[in-house]
Symmetry: D2
Subunit: 330 residues, 4 copies
């Protein structure tokens, strides 16, 4: 164990995700286990600039493992993008005797952390937390599994109505660049079609799928649309387009934008366990002298990837699952 680490700070930044509290808890408990101090930073990078710190001990994180959101709060912070903002953040960390920083968040969070590393050589370790699952170097990000269950439960409810009324529902789910939520929740909810940002022909797919459904006599349909879908139309425009283009199908179309409910809720067991592993792993990485990495999970094992690589755009998606989606929606 590194003798020089006496105090580790932890913050959450960017969009909140279920499991953030469980990850903070694991960081705090691991610090307690290894008998070092843990400094909680409120409101993400803004709190670094404001010196909004609080010492956290094992009891500070009682009864938070099952809470959505983040009790340390999160925020966007324009000032941290400026060199003088980061100077202030660094000074506050040093002043508080913090030896290393754990940041819990997504791509933007890690990009900010990288600047702190580059400019001040301050030791940082990242924990991936975003419902979008769009981070390199980890099979799963915190909050993703919970969000899938939230989406699938919502679509189950909408399916009740769709089936009762023989309707076509267009359901927008989160995912600006990554179709993971749309593809997995779409398969899980038994959607008739799924539109994801990684595919450029989503509009053709949709129209073809609707025609096939019609031929088969399907009377209700669920279409899941990622918000980053590349059709060039939002869900409301899609509805109009279908009505115009397939006028004789006489669809009773409804639109549902699931929105912010996707970010909240109690974390699933999967996310709580993952958060516990990554939180402990992050503290142990620091104590072992490994900095400037993001903790991840690959094939159920905790792994590390350099923060630089973690923030590179991710391109692949689960093509095998796309194939399964097409087969099971026949």
């Amino acid at each position: 164990m590194s003798k020089n680490i006496r105090n580790i700070a932890v913050l959450t930044s960017g969009g909140d995700a279920p499991g953030m509290n469980a990850a903070i808890r694991a960081v705090v408990r691991a610090c307690s286990f290894y008998k070092i101090d843990c400094t909680g930073v409120y409101r993400g990078y803004q709190g670094l600039l404001d010196g909004d710190f609080e010492n956290l001990d094992a009891r500070s994180v009682r009864n938070v493992i099952n809470k959505g959101g983040t009790f340390l709060k999160s925020s966007r912070c324009e000032d941290f993008r400026k060199p003088e903002g980061r100077k202030l953040a660094y000074d506050n960390l040093k002043l508080a005797g913090v030896d290393a920083l754990i940041v819990i968040g997504g791509n933007g969070t890690f990009t900010g952390a990288q600047l702190l590393i580059d400019e001040y050589d301050f030791p940082v370790v990242g924990i991936p937390a975003t419902i979008d699952n769009d981070i390199n170097g980890t099979d799963y990000t915190l909050g993703y599994d919970t969000a899938l269950n939230t989406v699938v439960e919502a679509i189950d409810k909408i399916r009740d109505t769709a089936s009762s009324h023989n309707r076509l529902f267009l359901i927008e789910v989160m995912g600006r660049d990554a179709g993971d939520i749309a593809l997995n929740s779409g398969v899980g909810a038994g959607a008739e079609e799924i539109m994801i940002p990684e595919e450029s022909d989503s509009m053709n797919r949709l129209m073809k799928s609707l025609k096939i459904s019609r031929e088969k006599g399907k009377t209700s349909s669920i279409i899941v649309v990622a918000e980053g879908d590349k059709s060039g139309k939002n869900v409301f425009e899609l509805a109009d387009h279908i009505n115009d283009d397939l006028e004789d199908y006489n669809y009773d179309i409804r639109v549902s934008v699931l929105g912010h409910i996707q970010r909240g809720g109690k974390p699933s067991c999967f996310d709580r366990v993952l958060a516990s592993k990554l939180g402990v792993g992050a503290v142990e990485a620091i104590l072992n002298g490994t900095y400037n990495v993001m903790m991840g999970v690959e094939h159920k094992k905790v792994v590390q990837i350099s923060l630089k690589d973690a923030i590179e755009p991710r391109h692949e998606f689960d093509k095998e699952l796309r194939r399964v989606a097409d087969i099971t929606s026949v």
Copy 2:
């Protein structure tokens, strides 16, 4: 018991609501108990016109009590509004040997039923099922309790994010004419303000409430808005208005339209029990020779009200709860 009743038909019409299946089940089981036939009519009044009937026995309704939606399906039916449509419906009922009809739905459903009564003197009994709770003559309509839980669970999730980010959320819930969902879910979710159709000064209320919240240093707020709110603005316009009018508050405002998830989902125990009571009550009313009424529940007892009175506009709302809302949101 009336000796003339050998066959009771049942249909669901209008917007679907959780508990409709449980009500159908109770009707079918009660027919079975009293050893009379039960005819299921698919797709509401449309099914009456199409003669889309199926004989239902006790086994037909196994495992439906906990399902959302309606397995008999529902639909809007333009043709039933025309005299020749109703003639066809009546003829089909007679042809199938149906002696009385139970209709499960809301205001529109009962208005249709009243025409059948007026023109053909056909015996009809109504069961109130709509998440809006906007029917005279019953404390509760089927689906309302479930919808409240669905809304409150959704707002709980959004509160996670609101608290994490110090945001103001405007949440639109169902209720075109009645604020029951907004008022009860708003109190249940601990909303800072609630805007309902029954009050004309909702905009003033809102602005005043935001100013008080700000003075008290509240950093996140949930505003619940019924879709029938009389402010003259929809939730998106409200967000713009707040941003303009309270510019220096520098709110980070988000909007969420809960939409169709409010109609679906497993019925709550309350709705299942209510459906069972009303379904049995409807069959027994018919067997006792009481027609052209809606079954309702008042102070936990099953009661009857004439269909004519049931479809009158309802005006009162729970003013006492509005007062409680104002006190608990301080």
Copy 3:
């Protein structure tokens, strides 16, 4: 408003119930609204003896409305049953400047409160909170509606297995003296038979019901048994008895004791709204000079009943629902 009331204390006692936190919140907020102090007492009557008090303001109860259990905690307190214990409690209340006390709990809680009234003429108001719904003077107690949903969701899960395996399940639910949970959850879950403490012939009912089910060819059955059932056998002994007595039916019987999960969980919207009404009502009753009553709800209105009457044994049960249960389980 009574000018003499400056400080109201609140405690929770007895078995915890969902909605207790929402009731505490409403009491605190109402005190804040009426600009009087609110003293939280930890661990029920034990906290009165220990002087375990904390001043509560509107912010103390943020984010508790949707939490199960009670953040003021609860406990059994032997010492409060002794005169010297109550003397100490009274002295501590006076010392802290408390003018009136709100107790949230069930029968035992109110019995304790009555002693404080009788011996020291200390103003007390009760709020009924127990999942059993076994209190006079109110249609519903706090926690009851939530518990019904918890039980029904659990039985829905067990039904999945029962249906898959053609099994007979005996499910024990709470309710020592009152069958409200068993009867309502049994109807809500579509149970084939329900055994409640208010009926002495539950064993005959059960055996008769099983024989009828068998004749009808039912392959799986759910029997809901209140823990206070008067058959003289617990659920495990009932299973043995069925196996012995109906040996040729060759049942594959399983037993499930739902246990403590029934007390926990997020309160339903119904319980949150009820808690808000009763909490505000309790404070306003005190301010209006009405003491030594329990707040209740009858036909959706907040009402009052003397504590003496509230703690009398309740005898009636919903016989109409028992009849509905018999009809819908055919």
Copy 4:
């Protein structure tokens, strides 16, 4: 594609698990996609003996993806253990023109299938479905993720009560040979100690953990105990032992046996997606001429393992997670 496969049969056997219906659906849909027949077999191996078959098409599996249990039902079948029983099963399969069989279940199911392979060279492919996650050759079995969420939600509820009353709760969860449910749900629920079958010193662990908790002043504790725990005591005996051995701690101990609710419920998104992948994979394996394997998932990819290897006892457990459990429960 193998030209010889015209008809694939599918059955579910052993304890039911959430996701079985989703797997059946994927099998049926894949058969439909590849234009071959699919024969549903009711009640597992018993249905093979009884010839209880039904042709399934794409519509047969509408609206089952989100249902717990198995609509094909399951059963134990003593007769299939006898050679003459298997002869009958084989004859029925041939008679129905079935070319290959997909069995969905756990260890016992696959052991039965292996006999059919060994004795009749009948092509079989297995899909692992058991909440215990105790099968070689796959990272996850169907139903396991859902069961973890069910257990964690139940413990969350019990935690409400435990916290409110300062109690010690012993909670028995499923897992005769494998501690996966106990370990993961224990970490997810923030349990103070976890007792699993893979460790022989669970009793020492427990007593040590309780002493440490007491020293730290913890007032409530959750202990998760796998049913296959090797302490030699069941949860009720454990409670007595703690009361005797730590008498001066004066614990208020409660026991909860979660039981059959762990098997039921809507499958999680994870289980629905996994079921879809494995179901499609099983059909494609057969069409590609690969038999006598179990489909599994490793590092998110569908893989195959010989049935012989799949049914070997599994020995390893997640020791890293045990370490994380010890650290996060400080």
